[in-house]
């Protein structure tokens, strides 16, 4: 599970050696710890000329968060983050000035620093030139992310419709991407609409929420449960009866309750609804994390390797979400988060079944966004890239070494990174994010 290479190239003699040899030197990523500053240094807010007012408004909100905000680039300063407000660009030529200003401070960006661009969706543009400019930002951001080192990331908040850069959902997304919670999210555009609400306490945004996490006995599911609990949620953790002992440990650790349930069983949704209703009255957050792999080349595929993957990974989330909605068991602002995969986006040899299921999840998320919105909620997916888990630790060494370095951060992510993204999507401030797939992959080359 551990990536000893990251330790080697960051300490002692082996660090020097790696430097001399010019070996890739993945950084220790900055991860969330309660009480630590949101960003590791002053925040520079940059904008194009037309977006000045928007940038001022954003800067004001950053000040409200007690951040040290700068409005003018000083190449001598070591910044913790750069926020680039480009909401009002109207032509590709508008990008040059602000981006060159950003470039002037990049060498001084602190380890674990952030560059977050706030822009608008190309399809909402009033003119072709604006659309071109807005789409240009996407390619620019992805390239910038690949240039950053030292665990720094570059991402983009894409406002849809008339969403103001200071809307709670826009600020929520910005804050997430600035924070250590987004350690393994890199090179990603996150589309945000109006909606959402600022939490009463940014450290416990999920306080009072009842969360169900399937597949929670170990790995990413257990990390999700712990993270949601850390953020204040009351947990019901679900896993198959056979994983009950590990599930019990997780339930007790997060002071939640365990429900031994096969999500593919006919009565799974009924038992789930009965459990949350009797114990907590309702359900606020539903995380469909349960998933299985049965890798085989399609030429060798059998029903025994195909059917369960589809049943667990996509049919169960579909059915359970529908039934919980129909039963009216959700609270006022439900959040559903599914686990997709980069394999569902880019495909993977030997994973026709898995790819179908995970791409199916993406389709489901997009298609049911309207239903959830009607219920006052959202549904989104997180697509993890290479994550260091029990599952990936069984990949042969050489394959694993290649797979984990194939991204801009040159390392595998951790279960907590996926969990943080899910906790964000489950939070009140993410109310404007709906029907989206957020990749947690360190900007993996696969399917990028």
């Amino acid at each position: 599970m551990s990536d000893s290479y990251v330790n080697l190239v960051n300490s002692g003699f082996t660090k020097t050696l790696a430097k001399r040899l010019g070996l890739p030197r993945p950084a220790h990523l900055r991860r969330h710890r309660q009480g630590e500053p949101l960003v590791p240094g002053p925040v520079l807010v940059v904008s194009d000329a037309a977006s000045g007012d928007a940038a001022d408004a954003v800067a004001q909100r950053l000040l409200d968060w007690d951040l040290d905000v700068r409005r003018h680039a000083d190449p001598a300063e070591r910044h913790g983050a750069v926020v680039v407000v480009l909401t009002e660009v109207s032509a590709p030529a508008d990008l040059g000035a602000p981006m060159l200003e950003v470039g002037s401070v990049l060498r001084g960006l602190r380890p674990g620093g952030r560059v977050v661009i706030v822009s608008r969706a190309p399809e909402d543009a009033g003119s072709t030139a604006t659309a071109a400019a807005r789409q240009g930002i996407d390619g620019m951001m992805r390239s910038l992310a690949k240039e950053l080192r030292g665990g720094a990331t570059g991402n983009q908040v894409v406002l849809t419709g008339t969403t103001a850069p200071t809307a709670p959902s826009a600020l929520g997304a910005l804050r997430f991407l600035l924070s250590a919670r987004s350690a393994f999210v890199d090179g990603q555009p996150l589309r945000v609409a109006d909606g959402g609400a600022e939490p009463a306490d940014w450290e416990r945004p999920l306080a009072g929420q009842v969360a169900v996490v399937t597949g929670a006995a170990r790995g990413i599911g257990a990390a999700i449960a712990r993270t949601l609990a850390r953020d204040g949620a009351t947990l019901v953790v679900v896993d198959v009866p056979a994983a009950g002992d590990a599930l019990a440990q997780v339930a007790n650790e997060v002071r939640g309750s365990a429900l031994q349930l096969d999500v593919t069983a006919d009565d799974a949704a009924d038992r789930l609804v009965e459990h949350v209703r009797s114990r907590h009255g309702r359900l606020d957050l539903l995380v469909h994390n349960a998933g299985i792999l049965r890798d085989k080349l399609l030429a060798n595929m059998k029903p025994a390797t195909w059917d369960p993957v589809i049943a667990v990974n996509v049919t169960a989330p579909l059915t359970i979400t529908e039934k919980v909605l129909a039963a009216g068991a959700f609270g006022d602002a439900p959040r559903v988060v599914c686990l997709a995969s980069t394999s569902g986006i880019a495909g993977n040899r030997g994973q026709t079944n898995y790819g179908a299921s995970k791409a199916g999840v993406i389709g489901m998320v997009r298609a049911s966004a309207a239903d959830l919105a009607a219920a006052g909620g959202t549904i989104n997916a997180v697509a993890p890239g290479f994550i260091e888990t029990d599952m990936t630790s069984r990949i042969p060494f050489a394959t694993r070494e290649v797979a984990r370095r194939l991204n801009s951060l040159q390392q595998g992510g951790r279960p907590i990174d996926v969990a943080e993204a899910i906790a964000f999507l489950a939070s009140p401030q993410a109310g404007g994010v709906n029907g989206q797939v957020l990749r947690v992959c360190g900007q993996n080359l696969v399917g990028a």
């Binding site: 339930a251 939640g256 365990a258 429900l259 031994q260 069983a265 009797s278 009255g281």
Partner: protein, 454 residues
């Protein structure tokens, strides 16, 4: 946690069953309810739990229960439990298990010991405390390991070692050590033999079996039903919320879903082989030595309602019994048959007034002898002092989800297994349904109890 409580109370009240005030004002005790249970799968001796201690297994069973009902960090009124085979270091077994569990360390605990009825006695004791208003919640537990059974040194060596510890001078110490002989070093393991008779439980039951003329076929048939019923219950997911896997075991290891009359008929008798009548008791219709643990969550209605927890059944009443097996008067394992009429009389019930009968299958013939006693006009009159036979029971209501022959029998854990399963069966059957439990125990004892759907 505080947040979740506040959100849960309002909604859970709607489904709260008729709650009596605490303490009751009319002098009648309030109800003690079974909220649910949890056990680990039972393993065969020397199986997957071979290195697990009683404390390990009891803690695992407790943690699973705590997880099922979201009780992490909660202070439970009392935890009562025990083991039949116990190390001297486990003098405070249950409390130690609590300290190692996810429960609040402020949860008190005490050990109970009534041989194979330990689990039942713990449940009855806690229920009574809840009924009296002394407790709002309690967890009854039981555990046994025949794989990690205590081995003691021989009596001779023990005496010498105790003398040694009391010796003051070097000379006295040397003198004590000098008394040790090689044959003293052979350890003595516990047996299932009755201390007073030296007969094993199986040998005792073989005498009773012969006395009642229980046939091999009838015993095998009961054993087969136990396996088939337990397997069906597993397949139906009945145990999904009664059991938490442990050490990679997800089902009772002794379960043989594919056992058949033919397979059982092939087994050689192991008990009663020295008797005049043909021996009938085999490894197939006798319970194997097992390892495992079980727990049951008991509470007042109010306590359960406050937490939105289910209420499966009430513990209505219980009775203990014992027989004079030392003088050969009664069978060692027949005390349940003796205690049931007293329990029925006190509750104004007949033997036929039940939807389920859970008679612990120490041996298939134990169950059949119990039934034979109740059906015997002569025995009921002469030995039980009744007006006549209690009569037969509807056999389709007996051990419907299997019992110890299939599941195994880690002595002190059996009561918890039965009570949790029966409580769930009663909840599924619905209001007004009623179950009778009888668990026999070493020393010629038994505890019998009545549960009703809550």
């Amino acid at each position: 946690m505080a947040e979740s409580r506040s959100t849960s109370t309002s909604t859970s009240k709607a489904r709260s069953p008729k709650a009596t005030p605490t303490p009751t004002t009319d002098g009648t005790p309030r109800r003690a309810v079974v909220v649910g249970g949890n056990r680990i799968p039972f393993a065969r001796a020397g199986g997957p739990y071979v290195r697990a201690s009683n404390q390990d297994m009891l803690t695992a069973a407790l943690d699973g229960l705590v997880a099922r009902f979201g009780l992490a960090g909660e202070r439970i009124g009392s935890v009562a439990g025990g083991a039949v085979l116990k190390h001297s270091k486990d003098f405070n077994l249950t409390r130690e298990a609590v300290l190692g569990s996810a429960l609040s360390p402020e949860t008190p605990a005490y050990d109970v010991q009534m041989a194979c009825a330990t689990g039942m006695e713990a449940i009855v004791g806690l229920s009574n405390k809840i009924r009296l208003g002394q407790l709002e919640s309690g967890i009854a537990g039981g555990v046994d390991s025949t794989s990690d059974a205590p081995i003691v040194v021989s009596d001779a060596l023990r005496t010498i070692l105790l003398d040694l510890s009391r010796a003051k001078t070097a000379q006295q110490k040397l003198a004590a050590v000098a008394r040790i002989r090689p044959n003293h070093l052979a350890p003595s393991a516990p047996t299932t033999g009755e201390p007073r008779t030296g007969l094993s439980m199986g040998e005792h039951q073989a005498l009773t079996t012969a006395a009642f003329g229980i046939s091999r076929e009838a015993q095998d048939e009961l054993a087969m039903a136990s396996h088939h019923n337990l397997a069906a219950a597993y397949d139906a997911g009945f145990f999904d919320d009664l059991l938490t896997p442990y050490r990679k075991l997800t089902r009772d290891q002794n379960l043989r879903p594919d056992t058949s009359a033919e397979k059982l008929a092939k087994l050689k008798p192991v008990f009663g082989t020295q008797l005049e009548t043909p021996a009938t008791m085999t490894a197939g219709n006798s319970t194997p030595l097992s390892d495992g643990a079980s727990t049951v969550l008991l509470a007042s209605d109010e306590w359960a309602a406050e937490r939105g927890l289910p209420v499966l059944a009430t513990v209505v009443d219980a009775e203990a019994g014992a027989t004079d097996f030392v003088h050969g008067r009664d069978g060692l394992l027949m005390a349940g048959a003796h205690a049931v009429p007293r329990l029925l009389a006190r509750n104004g019930l007949t033997l036929q007034d039940f939807d389920f009968y859970e008679i612990h299958e120490a041996f298939a013939s134990t169950v059949l002898c119990n039934l034979a006693i109740w059906e015997s006009e002569e025995y009921c009159r002469e030995r039980l002092g009744l007006d006549g036979a209690l009569g037969p029971i509807d056999r389709s209501k007996l051990n419907v989800h299997g019992s110890s022959l299939a599941a195994g029998h880690p002595f002190a854990a059996t009561g918890g297994r039965i009570v949790a399963s029966l409580a769930k069966m009663l909840a599924e059957k619905g209001p007004g349904s009623r179950g009778l439990i009888s668990v026999c125990a070493a020393g010629g004892q038994a505890v019998v109890a009545i549960l009703e759907a809550a």
